[in-house]
Amino acid sequence: MEFFTTGKSRIGFRNIHPLLAELVRSLPVLVDPEGLSEAAEQRFYPEPVQGPEHEQLRSDWKAFVEPGLQEHFRSFRDIVSADLKNLIEKDEVFEISIPLKHADAWLNVLNQARIALASDLGFDDELLSSTEPPDLVSDRGLTAFRINLYAFMQQCLIEQVE
């Protein structure tokens, strides 16, 4: 799987192995709010302040700020879902090309996906920074592999938008 740019307005990934293509295609499902675990939901919408004396602020945040964040995440998911229609097979591997202006939406959705996966399985710093090859037979190993795949894609996009 490799990153590419086309002129100044399009970017993408090509030579994507079919298994990796499936993992990329599953992004919208992974971050669908209906399927988020409680741990992931708490991580998506963290409390803005700690301490019992700020109950009113937390309550106002939930009522007035969280809906805006939900809408923000939804709009990015919609962009990525639409872009994924361009994930096409070419000579037994896959390729996707997206407008550069969609890079922020992809960065956000890839982050949503990594956070959802890591929250579900309680991944910590040590596990996520491990240099050992993941054990793809176990759920944890496969999840670590997915998190690293999405991190690779994020890093490519960050280098492009920076």
Partner: protein, 95 residues
């Protein structure tokens, strides 16, 4: 004559009643270091070196105070940081 540039802390004068508030970003195992530095540049307009320094502080010390000032603006910064899925909170200075 040689000149020297000194970086001043990013503290706004408190214009409303009460103490100023800190915008704190906390470490989390998921966000990439490059992503966190990028967000600091975008949200606060910090130059790359400063964004990098705050990112390393978050990574190594578990938290970094990104900005201090009036509550309304601090809330707006936290909201922006949450939109990037960073773990950020407000806290009163001196807490």
């Amino acid at each position: 004559m040689a000149t020297k540039t000194t970086e001043l802390p990013d503290v706004e004068t408190e214009t409303s009643l009460g103490q100023p508030w800190n915008v704190v970003v906390h470490n989390d195992p998921v966000n990439l270091m490059s992503y966190v530095a990028m967000v600091f540049k975008r949200v606060f307009g910090y130059p790359p070196e400063r964004a990098q320094r705050h990112m390393l502080e978050v990574h190594e010390l578990g938290r970094s105070i990104l900005w201090t000032g009036e509550r309304e603006k601090a809330e707006l910064y936290v909201q922006q940081l949450h939109s990037y899925l960073l773990l950020a909170t407000l806290e009163r200075t001196g807490q």
